[in-house]
C-alpha cells in the first residue's frame, strides 16, 4: 500500500472521528445566522468560547475532574438545536410542574423564553426579571441593565470547563434577575426549563444571570423537566452575584427523563458577609453533572451546600463541588446524601480551596450514601487544598444500606414492606430537606422526594440480598 493512500485513509478515519462535532459547528453557524441583536462584547465572548471548545473538545476520564464520569455517549450523540416549531408547548402540558407559592414563573421551552405560558404579571417590589436575551436586546436600545457587561461571563470561566465554553458559545436564552438593594423577595422565583421531545436529539444551553444587590434576599428555583421520552442535552450555566450582606438561596431540581444528559454549572460570587444556600435535588436524568462553585470573595461569607441525589437503573449522577475561600472568616458546609439502586453510579467530588488570605476559614463536608443493590456504586472524593495556616477543614463520608432491623420494626407495626422501605429512605433524604428554609420550596421538594422514593422503594430488593457492597465504594482518597 502506498504512503499516499495510507495518508488518505487516515484522513478519512480522522474525518469520521471528527464528524460528531459537526453538529456543534452547525448549531454555532445557525445561531450566528439568526443575526440576533446582541452587543459586540457578547459576540466576542461567544467567539472566544467557541474557539476554546473547538480546541479542547469534550473531556475524557483521564481528565482529573472527569475521572468518574465519561461523557463519551454524550459526545457520540448528534444533538441539534431545537427547531422553532417544537416550542408549541401549552400551559396544560406544564401544569403538573407548578411550584405553588412562587412569586413568578418564567418558562423556557427548548432553551427559548415562552412568555405565553410564563407568569410574571405582578412582581414584588425590588425584583426585576426578564429573559436574558431581552435584557441584552434592551442593551442595544441604550437601556441595558447597568453592569451586565462585567457580570455576564465575568464569573463562569470558559477556560476551566468546556461545558461552560459550549454554553457561552451556544446559549439562546435564560433568565435575568436583579434584586434591588435591601429588597427581600419573600416568595421563590421559579425558572422552569422544559425540553420538549422533537423527534431528534435536542440540545439546549440555558444561561441565567442573577444579581442580588447588597442586603437583599431571594430564593431562585431552577427546575429542569422533559416532555416526552426523547434524548436531550441540557447544558446550563448560572452566574449568581451576591452583594454585601445579601442572602440567597438557589435550588436546582433535575427531574428530566432518563434519556437526558444534564450538565449544570452554578457559579456564585459572594460579597462581604453574604450568605448562600445551594440546594440540589437530582432525581432524574440519565447522566447528570452538577457543578457548584461558590467563591467567598468577601470577608465573613457563609455557604451551605446541600444536596440529595437519587439514582436507579443506569443513572449516573455526578456532583462536583468546588468551594473557594478567598477571604478571612468564611464558613462553608457541604452535605450531600445519595441513594443509589440497581446499577446507578453516584459521584461526590468535594473540593475545598483555601487561599492564602483566607485565615480563620471553617469548612466542612459530609457525604452520606445508601447503596441499595450489589451493583450500585459511589465514588466519593474529598480534595482539600489549603494555602492558609489558621483554618479548620474536615470531611467525612459514609456508605450504608437499609438495615433489616429497622425495616422489621416498621413492618411489625403494620406498614407494608414498600411503605416501610420508603419511610426509611425518606428519613435519610429528610436530612437534606430539613435544611431547606423556604416553606413553599420545601413542600415542593418534599412532594417530589416522596414520589421519587416510592418508585425506588417499589423496586428495591430485600436488604438481606445486599452484600459485599464495600467493594463498590471508593472513598477516602486524599488528593492534593
Amino acid at each position: 500500500m502506498s504512503g499516499a493512500i495510507e495518508a488518505e485513509l487516515r484522513r478519512e478515519t480522522m474525518a469520521t472521528v471528527a464528524k460528531p462535532m459537526d453538529n456543534y459547528l452547525e448549531a454555532y453557524g445557525g445561531l450566528r445566522a439568526l443575526e440576533r441583536r446582541e452587543p459586540e462584547w457578547m459576540r466576542n465572548l461567544r467567539d472566544e468560547a467557541w474557539e476554546l471548545f473547538r480546541e479542547k473538545g469534550f473531556p475524557t476520564t483521564h481528565d482529573e475532574d472527569w475521572r468518574f464520569t465519561s461523557v463519551a455517549a454524550l459526545a457520540r450523540t448528534p444533538f441539534r438545536r431545537a427547531a422553532a416549531s417544537h416550542a408549541a408547548v401549552t400551559a396544560e402540558q406544564i401544569e403538573a410542574y407548578r411550584l405553588t407559592g412562587s412569586a413568578c414563573r418564567l418558562v423556557f421551552v427548548n432553551g427559548r423564553f415562552a412568555p405565553g405560558i410564563s407568569d410574571a404579571r405582578s412582581l414584588p417590589a425590588g425584583l426585576e426579571i426578564c429573559s436574558l436575551a431581552r435584557a441584552l436586546d434592551c442593551g442595544m436600545e441604550g437601556c441595558a441593565p447597568t453592569g451586565i457587561e462585567q457580570q455576564l461571563g465575568g464569573y463562569a470561566d470558559v477556560r476551566r470547563d468546556v461545558f461552560v465554553a459550549l454554553n457561552t458559545a451556544l446559549w439562546e436564552d435564560g433568565a435575568y434577575l436583579r434584586i434591588r438593594r435591601g429588597a427581600a423577595i419573600e416568595q421563590p422565583v421559579h425558572l422552569l426549563y422544559v425540553t420538549a421531545d422533537g423527534g431528534a436529539a435536542t440540545m439546549i444551553h440555558p444561561r441565567t444571570l442573577v444579581i442580588v444587590e447588597d442586603a437583599s434576599q431571594v430564593a431562585v428555583v431552577e427546575d429542569y423537566v422533559s416532555l416526552g421520552e426523547g434524548a436531550a442535552m441540557c447544558n446550563s450555566v448560572t452566574e449568581l452575584v451576591a452583594g454585601q450582606d445579601a442572602a440567597v438561596s438557589h435550588y436546582l431540581v433535575e427531574r428530566e427523563n432518563l434519556a437526558s444528559f444534564n450538565l449544570s454549572t452554578l457559579r456564585v460570587e459572594l460579597g462581604r458577609g453574604a450568605r448562600l444556600a445551594s440546594h440540589s435535588m437530582l432525581l432524574g436524568g440519565g447522566l447528570v453533572r452538577n457543578n457548584v462553585h461558590p467563591v467567598l470573595a468577601g470577608e465573613g461569607g457563609e455557604c451551605l451546600i446541600n444536596g440529595l441525589f437519587v439514582g436507579e437503573g443506569r443513572q449516573h449522577l455526578d456532583n462536583y463541588m468546588l468551594v473557594e475561600h478567598a477571604k478571612p472568616n468564611g464558613s462553608s458546609r457541604q452535605f450531600y446524601n445519595g441513594i443509589l439502586d440497581e446499577q446507578a453510579h453516584g459521584v461526590f467530588h468535594g473540593r475545598i480551596v483555601v487561599h492564602p488570605d483566607a485565615q480563620k476559614t471553617d469548612a466542612k463536608q459530609t457525604n452520606r450514601n445508601l447503596l441499595l443493590s450489589d451493583e450500585a456504586r459511589i465514588d466519593t472524593k474529598p480534595q482539600l487544598e489549603i494555602h492558609a495556616d489558621d483554618v479548620k477543614c474536615t470531611h467525612g463520608a459514609t456508605i450504608g444500606q437499609i438495615e433489616e432491623e429497622p425495616l422489621f420494626y416498621l413492618r411489625s407495626r403494620g406498614l407494608d414492606e414498600v411503605a416501610a422501605r420508603k419511610l426509611l429512605l425518606y428519613a435519610f433524604a429528610a436530612e437534606c430537606l430539613d435544611r431547606m428554609q423556604e416553606a413553599p420550596v420545601r413542600r415542593f421538594a418534599e412532594a417530589l422526594t416522596h414520589e421519587r422514593l416510592l418508585e425506588v422503594a417499589r423496586r428495591a430488593r430485600p436488604a438481606a440480598t445486599v452484600e459485599r457492597q464495600d467493594e463498590n465504594a471508593r472513598n477516602w482518597e486524599e488528593v492534593g
Binding site: Y409, S412, L415, L424
Partner: protein, 253 residues
Amino acid sequence: MALLEIEDLHASVDGHQILKGVNLVLNAGEVHSIMGPNGSGKSTLAQVLARRESYEVTQGRVLYAGKDLLQMKPEEAACEGVFLAFQYPVEIPGIGNAYFLRSAMNAIRKYRGEDELDAMDFLPVFRERLKLLEMDDALMSRSLNEGFSGGEKKRNEILQMAMLEPRLAILDETDSGLDIDALKIVAEGVNALRSSQRAFLVITHYQRLLNYIAPDFVHVLVDGKIVRSGGPELALELEEKGYGWTEAEAQPA
C-alpha cells in the same frame, strides 16, 4: 377457640436451632408469662410470632385466631392484631414519633377496610394515652426513639401498643433496664389494656414485673422448650430457687 395455639414449634437463627418444640395455648383474656434463663429462646419465640423473616421456622405450626400465623408477613400479623413490644426498640432518625404512629394506625385501618384517621381524630386519643404513660409531648415531635433513654423507649413501646390496640400483645423483656417507677408506669399501661378480648404474652427474666402485671399462667422456657407450666406461684418459686433446677429438668433423661 384459642387465640393462639403453638404446636411443636422449632426455629433456627443463622443456622443455630433455638426453639426445639414449643407448645403453648393462649385464650383471649389471659395473661401468660414466659420466664427462662438467658439464651433459652424467649426472644426468638417473640420474634418468630411477630414474623421476623430472618428467623427460620423449621418445624411445627402456629394458629392465631384460627389462621396460620407462620404464613403471614410481619405487617399482616400486625394488621391481624399481633403486637411485639421490642426488647431493644430501634432508633430511626428522621421519622417523627407521632407521624410514624399515625402511619401505622392508618396502615392497620386500611387493612381492615376502615377509614384513615386524620390529625383531628388521632390527637385526642394520642394525648390521653401519653398521659397514661406519663410521657412528655415534646418527645413525640422528635424522631422515633432517637436519643430516648432506655425507660423512654420502653414506655414508647407500650404507648404504641395502647394506640394500636392489638389482640395479642407480646412484651419482650419490657422490664429490663427500667427503674421501679418506670416499671410501675409500664405495668399500669399494660393493666389498663387488659380485657376479655385480648391476650398478653409477657416475656421476662425476673419475677419483679409480675408483681405489677399479675399473670394467669407462668411457663418456664429452657433450651428451646417449655419445661414447666403453672400458676403465678411458679414465678415466685423461680425467684427463690433460680433457674438451676429447671435447667437440670431440661436435660434429656
